[in-house]
């Protein structure tokens, strides 16, 4: 195991460990979103798009600075996407290993990544974040968190299913009763398909994603044209060309003495393979003739930027593009329930990089990536799906693990007041309202005591009403409602409290809401549900004559 491999293995291990630790309750002081913050594109795209300096993303900036000296070491040694591709390349590499593309076309394709980068920055200029379409850390977090993790848990659970009898027979109680929480996600097919495509690109060349498509790599390439640490070739070179052929990035030019530093990821493969030990990496800013034509033509760069700007502006005219301001004519999707503490919609979308970390961490699996419910610009962003799970009022993990602050990191007492929406009873389906059935599960399970039972004329039993100022939109009622298909009580994003700054408690109180800070608080009993005129025959709820 050489130095690079060791670093790569450590990096992937740390990345997966942190992803696993991104769960409720959060059991680490170390930021579980650390790798996401290292992504230089997340830094550049978010700061530009949100028009705000994000201190949490400083690591990405430091990576850019370090690249000035060390070259693209991030790509070879740190990036979990790169490590994953190295592994998948080994698995899927075609037998013949013959290049299916000419050297020249591969060199040309290398420039595509700059176009991707400038397109993304172009959208960020108009305040739209498209970082998620190609940021390596966003992609790889989504891949491991929303596809691999649920898959692994499912396999584990199936194994436990089949071994349950054996374990309990052997008296291995702890193993027999071990129950990993299962996760299910929307859009996973698309994420998987995308990665199959990326993996398949090995047919064209190893690390094809990194060399030709990755916008973070392109950003680092711009800063690594003249790094301090650079490849040097001594006079003992016999120009055998082995290093050229083995370079995963095609960074060694026709003259093997010369290097395209911006393409070099400092993997040291050339040092290892050189039979003459002629290659080394040394510090030194010695003069070398500048490499020409590493960037696409200026015209193409401009076209990419304008393409980004234009696409973003065009998409903003879609009917499903959600705006935060509540005015007539502004269509808010009925079930777009954002996580508690999500910024105002436009700012939320300009910051959310769709990494899926919040969804992986959500203990009830209620947070789901969406398709096009909020238009193209909302793709993969999180929403709560109460039918899958209720939002736990004692949990604030989504905000804690969010790398960009799209979901605010709130203390529990504030988070309780970060109202997500409001429930409404679907009277035509409600067992009590429509069929005189004793159910009232919603009343039982509401952690905010936001349901009230009242007697109404014509119905024998008390029926549920939602008390507007007490409902936080957590969805416990919708989750537990025993009515099948559409629940008889549904949460909509109506009256959600979305704030970029300030106290939810103060604002909530000002709006007349009554969401106490501690969900297990001693509450005043709900309104007496007995009729005003107490006749001797009236019985409390649930009793019958």
């Amino acid at each position: 195991m050489n130095f690079k491999r060791t670093l790569q293995a450590l990096s992937l291990f740390a990345f997966i460990t942190l992803l696993l630790l991104a769960a409720f309750p959060l059991r680490t002081w170390f930021p579980t979103d650390f790798f996401l913050r290292l992504d230089p594109l997340v830094f550049a795209g978010t700061v530009l798009g949100a028009r705000e300096w994000a201190g949490a993303l400083l690591p990405g900036f430091l990576i850019i600075l370090a690249t000035l000296f060390l070259g693209r070491f991030f790509c070879s040694c740190i990036c979990p996407m790169g490590v994953t591709l190295d592994i998948s390349d080994r698995i899927f590499r075609p037998r013949d290993s013959g290049r299916n593309l000419s050297v020249q076309s591969l060199l040309t394709l290398r420039r595509v990544k700059y176009l991707v980068l400038f397109f993304i920055l172009g959208t960020a200029i108009v305040g739209v974040s498209s970082v998620f379409i190609a940021s390596p850390l966003s992609l790889i977090t989504r891949f491991y968190g929303l596809v691999i993790y649920p898959f692994a848990v499912h396999v584990l659970d199936l194994g436990l299913d089949n071994l349950y009898m054996i374990y309990s027979g052997l008296g291995l109680q702890s193993l027999a009763y071990f129950e990993p929480q299962s996760y299910r996600f929307a859009t996973q097919i698309f994420i998987m398909a995308f990665f199959i495509l990326v993996f398949a690109l090995v047919v064209l060349a190893p690390r094809f994603w990194c060399r030709s498509l990755c916008p973070a790599g392109a950003l680092l390439a711009i800063f690594s044209r003249k790094p301090l640490l650079r490849r040097k070739v001594s006079t003992s070179c016999t120009e055998c060309g082995l290093c050229q052929r083995r370079c995963p990035m095609q960074a060694i030019e026709e003259d093997p003495h010369r290097t395209s530093h911006q393409e070099c990821i400092v993997c040291l493969e050339c040092v290892r393979v050189c039979p003459e030990k002629a290659v080394s990496f040394q510090a030194g800013w010695n003069k070398e003739p500048a490499v020409s034509g590493f960037m696409p033509q200026r015209r193409k760069v401009m076209a990419s930027v304008l393409g980004g700007v234009g696409s973003a502006l065009l998409l903003q005219t879609g009917i499903r593009e959600v705006r935060g301001d509540i005015v007539p004519g502004n269509v808010t999707p009925q079930f777009l329930i954002r996580p508690p503490g999500a910024l105002e919609e436009e700012d939320f979308l300009s910051r959310c990089i769709r990494c899926g970390q919040c969804m992986k961490a959500c203990p009830t699996n209620t947070l789901q990536p969406i398709w096009f419910e909020a238009g193209v610009l909302g793709l993969f962003s999180p929403k709560a799906l109460p039918r899958r799970g209720p939002c736990d009022p004692t949990c604030n993990v989504c905000g804690r693990v969010c790398p960009t602050g799209a979901i605010r990191d709130l203390p529990i007492n504030e988070r309780v007041w970060a109202r997500m929406g409001t429930a409404r009873v679907v009277r035509g389906k409600c067992l009590a309202w429509a069929w005189d059935r004793k159910c009232l599960v919603c009343f039982e399970v509401c952690p905010y005591a936001a349901l009230e039972l009242r007697r109404v004329p014509g119905i024998d039993i008390p029926v549920p009403f939602v008390i507007l100022e007490k409902c936080s939109g957590c969805g416990a009622c919708e989750f537990h409602c025993p009515v099948q298909a559409q629940s008889a009580i549904v949460v909509e994003p109506m009256n959600s409290l979305r704030m970029n700054k300030g106290s939810y408690i103060e604002e909530g109180r000002a709006q007349g809401m009554v969401l106490d800070p501690d969900p297990d608080r001693e509450r005043e009993p709900p309104e007496e549900i007995m009729p005003d005129t107490e006749e001797p025959d009236d019985l409390p709820p649930g009793f019958t004559d």
Binding site: L431, K438, V441, A449, H480, P482, G542
Partner: protein
Amino acid sequence: MNRKNRWLNKKGVSLDSSLTRRDFLKSQAGLAVLMAASGVGVLGKAPVSRAGGYPDIGVARGGPAESARACVDLMGGMSSFVSSGDKVVIKPNMSFAHTPDRATNTNPRVVSALAEMCVDAGASRVMVLDNTLQSAQRCMELSGIRDACADIPNTRVETFDSRRFFQEVSIPEGESFRSTEVMRDVLDADVLIAAPVAKSHSATGVSVSMKGMMGLIRNRGVMHSRYNLNQAIVDLCTLLKADLTVVDATRVLSSHGPQGPGDVIEGELVLASRDMVAADAKTVELFPWYGRKIRPDQVEHIKMAHERGLGRMDLDNLEIQTVDA
């Protein structure tokens, strides 16, 4: 007779030589049979029924653990229910992530006292099981039940979610609710002990031992949506009939149950009975609900269970013993 599922109230159990008194009682469903077996006329009024020389209901007043022990002693002691090597399931209420003062969950000290008694009586394994409404981990933590049972040997507090922990069984005596998935550990148990807290319930009047059995099955939602809830509870209790019912009335959530917060009465009582219906009926009678007197027959599932011979709510005809613990 198979030791497994001994408590399951099965029809058509053959009377072979190994059948115990308890098995015999359990194999008989009808009230008339029960009464005949104990030498009481079907229309008996004045004479009280005595099963094996013990009162029908034992009530103890005092601290939670002491009262639990005292009222089980009135029933003949735990060793008359649990034999050496038995697997026991205790079903408390721990469905809410609430601390004990809310009176939504069973008092942890009542649960731990029961588990200790079972272990002392020779139980090989005691499972404390419920299917929680709120986050299982938080419920086990905040209710105090997991901590209270942590040091008791062979005792585990668990909640289940995965299908592998359940098994589909039919409810032969179910009138409308005729099959369901029950926790395997419950089906495997030799002894089933109901240990509910006494609380009001918005849909069923009260939630005591019978309503509590909903915590041992996987899909209780259908009991609300597909069936008449009260009837489904009785149907379920024909299958999950506790050998011993111990009602925690150390504090009683007398209004706005099952979740509260509501009026919590300092009941300072624990009740025990071999008859779930009688235990529930006595609990209803003992306390005011929403501040007023309620008769057991005003709780629909108690009334139905009585009428179907599952147990008795005619408290006047039952022997009730009260002690101070």
